[in-house]
């Protein structure tokens, strides 16, 4: 009776402790701003089944994935044995499930197999962390506690699994010796193998060993349970809700800031519209300075992070030696939140201190992000560090006016000239010099009472970058060739606001966006073809938040459709023996899942299409996104575009095909750095297609 009572006491104590800690964390998460997520329930359950239960995002790194599956499945299966241990413990039975007869040894043997799998997994993990020293486990934020945390967990699991095996082995010997307390339950597969080790021991010693391991295991498991919420290991619970509440939007979309819309509409129109989208709520602070400025979802993500560092190891800024590490940002939010939570419990909800998250997350880290979303795509648990970074940029820019000087310059250019570069909007149509007659302008068509099917959006680079003008001209020729009904806005175009938005200047973004939407409305625009991926993404994913809804078509989708339909008959001789590789722009690839269209067009051009090592969702950014194009990079070992150019050169391809003006600037520069611009060409897909059409 006494062991039962002791057992029940320990059990309640452990469960109680665990409950209180989980409640504390839940309260800390709720310190975040409210956010309603109750849409798409079925889709969310499916996503959770796939990403959290099915671990679909782990598989990209096979060794870690297999070992993780060992430990993960082992963990779940062994918990079935835990159930038996609980029943035995409470009711004083021994091997309660043995009533299953012949099935029982099979059950226990399979538990043992999984136990061994866990042991193998833990040993591999320990050696990856401590012997092989995989780089991502040794970066600067992985010192002290985060490093020992992982080791503590792994070593504990080794001991727990070891205890089960020793327990079963002793039990097995005692069964064979017909000890009255150890009724025959059958022989167990793996522990049977270590029985010879203990065969010389007396029954008394074996009973002691069996009992000791039993208690060690159950107390160990309960202690472990209470350790988890203090550890990165908490992901075993939080991953499920965290994935369930994932953002379902395309990765390229940035979170909307409705609080600012009213302000912007007032600024643009000079009066307050009654039904302005912002509503009447208090405007408050823009962006995030501290943990409580984020939504609860961001805080949940911070607690879910398991510090695996896949985000950091895929971050272009981090790869090239910059200070930014997405994992550190997430960990900083969590650590700061723990601190705030502790003080809120002590001093009440009004607690403030003179510090903030921005004392640990530096501006240098925040401004190094290219918003390429590699981290977000990599995260096995759908954590979104880019959204966190943007929120803090918004605070720096809109509350503190603390953007880097070069970005302030582009803000004023966008505001005054409608482009990040200081060119006059009057010159926006100069790209069409000499082919004006081919290029219909919206205002002219409207004056004649005509309405084209498509709006062809040129973008600032197409209008002003002399290199990219050639790409726009090439695509225009294709449109003319196909006799597509389209028009351009010409001088009425202005910046979509993308660089401003990615640099945290939401106010300027919305000013630009609302102007563009008004222009579209004037001409009743419904279908837009874009050539710049940044314009594509913002029209497709972000303008709808401002009531600008259009069918947005990337020129790659357009080209692919016409090529596949046979309406664009490419001369297969032009590039027949030319090796071509393709660099995925972040805002078409990761941002909007456009991977296949460019490849299928290129494969029609050449039989010799080669991929870079890092391609599709793992493609490395060119280094120019997120307004990086307009500023110097933060201090690091090297430039991102050189790293990416090396990827391209390694393929041996003669042509590096790109599909974005920024990528083109970066990779062309890269070729020059490497002194390879004579032999390797960087061309846009539109140029290749136009050439293959003889245009």
């Amino acid at each position: 009776m006494i062991p039962n009572l002791v057992f029940i006491l320990i059990l309640f104590f452990a469960a109680g402790l665990f409950y209180f800690k989980v409640r504390t964390i839940s309260r800390e998460i709720k310190l975040g701003k409210p956010l309603k997520i109750n849409d798409n329930k079925l889709r969310r359950w499916k996503l959770m089944a796939k990403v959290a239960i099915g671990q679909s995002k782990m598989v990209t790194r096979p060794i870690a994935a297999i070992m993780h599956i060992f430990v993960y499945v082992g963990f779940i299966i062994v918990n079935i044995e835990m159930l038996e241990i609980l029943i035995d413990g409470i009711f004083g039975t021994h091997r309660f499930f043995s009533f299953a007869g012949g099935l029982y040894p099979v059950l226990i043997s399979s538990f043992e197999i999984f136990g061994i799998a866990v042991i193998i997994g833990c040993i591999v993990f320990l050696s990856r962390r401590n012997i092989i020293r995989v780089k991502r486990f040794w970066s600067s934020e992985m010192k002290l506690w985060p490093r020992s945390d992982a080791n503590i967990i792994l070593v504990t699991e080794l001991f727990l699994m070891g205890a089960i095996l020793v327990m079963n082995a002793s039990d097995g010997i005692l069964q064979i010796r017909h000890d009255p307390h150890y009724a025959a339950a059958g022989s167990f597969l793996l522990s049977g193998l270590i029985q010879p080790l203990f065969s010389g021991l007396s029954n008394g010693t074996l009973v002691f060993m069996e009992r000791f391991c039993w208690w060690f295991h159950i107390i160990g498991v309960l202690a472990f349970l209470n350790y988890i919420p203090y550890s990165k290991h908490f992901h075993v619970f939080l991953s499920f809700p965290n994935v369930y509440y994932s953002r379902l939007d395309p990765q390229g979309k940035m979170d909307h800031m409705p609080s600012i819309t009213k302000e912007v509409k007032m600024m643009l129109s000079g009066y307050i519209e009654n039904n302005a989208a912002g509503g009447d709520e208090e405007i408050g602070q823009f962006g995030s300075r501290d943990c409580r400025d984020f939504s609860w979802k961001v805080l949940m993500e911070a607690y879910t992070c398991t510090e695996c560092g896949r985000c950091t190891s895929s971050c272009p800024a981090n790869i090239t030696g910059k200070k930014l590490s997405p994992r550190k940002i997430v960990m900083d939010i969590r650590d700061r939140l723990e601190y705030i939570g502790k003080n809120v419990r002590k001093h009440g909800i009004e607690f403030t201190d003179d510090k903030s998250l921005l004392d640990v997350v530096t501006a240098e880290e925040l401004w190094a992000c290219t918003t390429c979303n590699a981290c977000t795509i990599e995260c096995p648990l759908n954590i979104n560090p880019v959204a966190m970074i943007i929120e803090m940029r918004r605070y720096l820019v809109m509350e503190k006016a603390a953007a880097p000087a070069e970005l302030n310059a582009i803000f004023s250019n966008i505001e005054n000239n409608g482009a990040p570069w200081q060119y006059s909007s009057e010159d926006r149509i100069l790209w069409a010099k000499d082919i004006e007659s081919e290029v219909p302008v919206m205002a002219d068509l409207f004056a004649k009472g005509e309405k084209p099917e498509f709006l062809f959006w040129i973008g600032c680079a197409g209008a002003f970058d002399d290199r990219y003008k050639k790409v726009v001209r090439a695509f225009t020729k294709i449109l003319t060739y196909l006799r597509v009904s389209y028009a351009v806005l010409g001088k009425e175009e202005t910046c979509t606001g993308d660089p401003a938005r990615r640099a945290g200047n939401e106010m300027l973004y919305q000013m630009q966006a609302l102007q563009v939407i008004a222009t579209f409305k004037k001409y009743d625009v419904t279908k837009i073809i874009t050539i710049c991926p940044h314009c594509y993404n913002i029209f497709k994913n972000e303008y709808p938040d401002l009531e600008g809804r259009y069918e947005v078509i990337s020129y790659l989708q357009f080209l692919n459709k016409y090529v596949a339909e046979g309406k664009l008959k490419l001369d297969t001789e032009s590039f027949k023996d030319v090796t071509i590789t393709y660099h995925d722009p972040c805002y078409l690839g990761r941002g909007n899942n456009i991977y296949d269209e460019p490849r299928s067009v290129l494969k029609r051009l050449t039989a010799d299409f080669v991929e870079m090592d890092r391609n599709k969702r793992f493609a490395l950014c060119c280094g120019a996104g997120g307004a990086q194009m307009f500023k110097e990079a933060e201090k690091g070992n090297r430039e991102v575009f050189i790293e990416r150019t090396e990827d391209a050169l390694k393929t041996g391809a003669e042509i590096i095909a790109t599909a974005c003006p920024f990528c083109m600037t970066m990779l062309t520069d890269g070729l020059k750095y490497k002194n390879r611009e004579e032999e390797r060409k960087n061309l846009d897909i539109a140029e290749l297609v136009a050439q293959a059409l003889g245009l």
Binding site: W421, S424, D466, R467, M629
Partner: protein, 322 residues
Amino acid sequence: MSVLVYTENWDGKFKKLTFELVSYASGVAKMINTSVTALSIGKIDDSELKKLGNYGAEKIINVDNELLVTLDSQAYSYVISDIALKENASVIIISNNNTGKAIAPRLSVRLKAGVGSGVNKLPLKTSPFTVYKKTYSGNAYAHVVIKSDIKILTLAQNSFVLNETANNSSIENMNVTIDSSLVKTEIKDVQKQTGKILLTDAEIVVSGGRGMKSPDNWGPIEELAGFLGAATACSRPVADEGWRPIDEHTGQTGKIIAPNLYIAVGISGAIQHLAGISGSKCIVAINTDKDAPIFEAAEYGIVGDAFKVLPKLIEAVREVKS
């Protein structure tokens, strides 16, 4: 009534832009039938001050004070407005450089004076007082009417021809009492570049890009710049590779310049570079690649090998100069 011109000096020396300002002031003074008073702040020799007379300043005031050793726009604005009132100035003329841009708005508030910024021609009319300036990146001209009693004009650099007129000028040292609390800046350290024409001041710039192949090939660029009295610049890759000092880097993220003549040698003309030089009055490009985007931006282009073109260009310039 008078036209007051603030004449900035650099270590006790005036620059060409100072004389442009005085010439311009002299032109304005003629239009409103008055004389030019030049104001110089800080330590400067009389011989240097006298030079202002050659461009039409009748009265030259020097205010020197130990608090005015450092250019502090608040303190300087205070001095200029004080003198403007004492001299009963109806028009104040300042350069549209960084100093002028910092001082003009402060003066405007102190004197309740309207500002015509970045003007590049004499006023069109004096009644109403109407000035002429470029707008929309130089694609249009604006006529700006200034209605206040005192008018402030900031003159764009390199936009007004020097006009020497013999004049009997008088130099007067004046004292202005300044509260030391007005001076909010302190210079801790000055690092000077010597022996070169400052890139941002230069009227002619010769710039080299990666097409120059190696840092050892900069000889012709420097030689040409030497003959033309030009500053040297470079594109970003060149600065990044350490071929040229980083302060020569011209472009979006480097220096943004607007010389009268910009000679780009071996520069392809990526948008990030053009963004820093597009204000140049005349761009001349030398490049082997006839498709290089720089030719779109250039007024004159030479398709050819810089190592062949430059020596000939230097020879031609040498002949003209001699």
